[in-house]
């Protein structure tokens, strides 16, 4: 329990650090051209909504991000595997809604269909097969190495995220109006079926096919592993029977 509290407080501290540092970075004098293009892109996307005002978008984004953070903390902090799995569903669903806010409708739908739907079904199935939470509690002891790796990832994430936040701060003023012309509204085709499909089968053809082969290998491997084990079981049972017969 103590360890769990420690973990949650560590996470909260990391989140607070992320927020404070990004605000601090945003306060710093801006240098032109210092923002990564993808950051500009998302900021422009966020600022160019048709139906909701930019301010409403910003608040929707904040609320969703908060929910995601809470869900994420409970996913890794909860000792009950069922609660952890359901919190992960919530987190993934919120991610889907954020994609929707960014007008990436196809990606949003796929996010909910594949992650919050199909993959979570498998997680949940494993949880149900494994057993009851009173007996099966997740251990939370981690070594120093995993903490270091986690810390490194947190720093990387921070470096990646803060430019987005900064550029957004510079694009939109407190009332939510677009004040900078450096970030033009993005084409409305971004993230829809045709766009994603064209990208997948032109620029990203090789990674796409490579991932397909990787998944195929994983499937064949999973089948092989289960088959192998079953044969071993039979052998083991036969050996046990033989030794019992000898005895």
């Amino acid at each position: 329990m103590d360890r769990r509290k420690l973990y949650v407080s560590l996470l909260l501290a990391a989140a607070a650090l992320l927020l404070i540092s990004s605000v601090a970075l945003a306060q710093a004098p801006s240098t032109s051209g210092g923002v990564a293009p993808h950051a500009q892109f998302y900021a422009g996307k966020l600022a160019s909504s048709k139906k909701l005002s930019p301010l409403a978008m910003l608040w929707a984004m904040r609320v969703l991000a908060g929910l995601m953070l809470v869900g994420g903390i409970f996913t890794i902090g909860s000792r009950n595997p069922v609660v952890a799995a359901l919190c992960l569903v919530g987190t993934l669903f919120c991610t889907g809604i954020i994609f929707l806010l960014l007008h990436a409708t196809f990606i949003a739908a796929i996010q909910v269909l594949v992650y919050a739907g199909a993959i979570m079904v498998l997680f949940v199935f494993v949880v149900m097969s494994v057993g009851h939470p009173e007996r099966e509690e997740i251990g939370l002891s981690r070594g120093i190495i995993s903490k270091l790796i986690g810390g490194a990832f947190a720093v990387m994430l921070l470096l990646r995220v803060s430019p987005v936040y900064m550029s957004y701060q510079r694009t939109v003023n407190a009332a939510g109006e677009i004040i900078s012309k450096a970030m033009p509204p993005v084409s409305s085709k971004y993230g829809n079926v045709e766009h994603v499909g064209k990208l997948l089968f032109s620029d990203y053809l090789f990674p796409f096919e490579a991932i397909s082969i990787l998944l195929l290998v994983a499937i064949v491997g999973a089948v092989m592993v289960t088959r192998h084990r079953r044969r071993d079981d039979n052998k083991g049972a036969a050996a046990a029977a033989a030794s019992a017969g000898e005895g």
Partner: protein
């Protein structure tokens, strides 16, 4: 030109409220009607009369039943997982409400019109398992847990042929917008182009709604009532309501993909649309009261060894023909 609710009502939040109210009203009235219809159909097939006393043809019987369910005591069993147990009947309703809003009921009207409507329908349908899982796990009952496990296994298996069958249709229509798919079916519906796909879709859809002959998640003779064994009164009624609304959703998808949606001669669009939907639902009732329940291994074998290879072959043939013809 297709109009959506947000065209008619400019305020986003007002539009959302209106849509939610309309969908909830429709779901409730529809469930009242379908429960009555199910009783009448089952009675007819067993040479009985079914409900006859309350209202004409016993039509208000379900209304009276709702009053009964509302006045019943809500019993919570011992040692339940409280948040999961109490949230499940509410969560079961969310994907249903979301899914119902996506269909064009006429040439000129749909509540929501999006270019990935079809994917969204399946995405929401896939979320339904979470409520079943919460109910089964939270109830602290071995029958409920077994029922939930079966439901989840069945959900994985039958979602694949369902989506593969729909994929063949999107390839022909060249769109994932449901209105475009309906429009692409010119003078003849896609059931003539995709007879195997339509059959695969319909079988998988019946399995996805957990209805007989695929109702092993709640097989009465084995599992009492499956995942909702421990729910009483209105909580049970919410599961029931979701089940009947799910039937409508899968029938609406089938109507839009394979039967030409709102298209038809003489009569106006909504009449054709709902007529086709309720015909498909009637076929589901018919199946339920005709076939015995499948055994669990039969069910899984049928999905993995028959439906999925068939659906893949269907997809391959469709793609080849489309490539050759274009």
């Amino acid at each position: 030109m297709l109009k959506t609710l947000s065209d008619l009502v400019p305020n986003v939040f007002l539009a959302m409220l209106l849509a939610a109210a309309a969908i909830m009203a429709f779901a409730t009235v529809n469930a009242l009607f379908l429960v009555w219809l199910e009783r009448k159909v089952s009675a007819r097939m067993q040479r009985r009369y079914g409900p006859t006393v309350v209202g004409p043809f016993g039509m208000f019987q379900t209304l009276v039943d709702v009053v009964k369910l509302l006045s019943k005591q809500l019993i919570s069993p011992k040692d339940i997982d409280k948040p999961l147990y109490h949230l499940a009947p509410i969560v079961v309703f969310v994907p249903v409400v979301l899914g119902l809003s996506l269909f064009p009921i006429d040439k000129s009207f749909a509540l929501v019109d999006t270019n990935v409507g079809l994917v969204l329908v399946f995405a929401f349908a896939g979320m339904g398992f979470i409520a079943i899982f919460m109910a089964g796990w939270g109830s602290n009952n071995k029958y409920a847990l077994l029922g939930a496990m079966r439901a989840v296994a069945q959900n994985i298996a039958y979602e694949i042929p369902l989506i593969l069958a729909a994929l063949a249709v999107t390839m022909i229509a060249r769109s994932m917008r449901i209105a475009d798919i309906v429009e692409a079916q010119g003078s003849f519906p896609y059931i003539l182009v995709q007879p195997i796909g339509a059959l695969i879709y319909y079988i998988s859809a019946v399995a996805e709604t957990n209805r007989a002959p695929f109702d092993i998640p709640e097989a009465e003779s084995e599992l009492v009532a499956g995942f909702h064994t421990e729910y009483s009164g209105m909580r049970f009624a919410l599961f029931f309501l979701a089940e009947y609304t799910n039937m409508v959703i899968v029938s609406m998808v089938a109507t839009s993909l394979f039967l030409g949606g709102y298209k038809g001669p003489l009569l106006p669009g909504p009449v054709w649309f709902f007529g086709k939907v309720y015909f498909l639902i009637f076929v589901m009732l018919w199946l339920r009261w005709t076939f015995p329940r499948l055994r669990f291994d039969q069910l899984m074998t049928f999905a993995w060894k028959v439906l999925i290879p068939l659906a893949l072959a269907n997809l391959l043939v469709t793609a080849t023909v489309l490539k050759v013809m274009s």
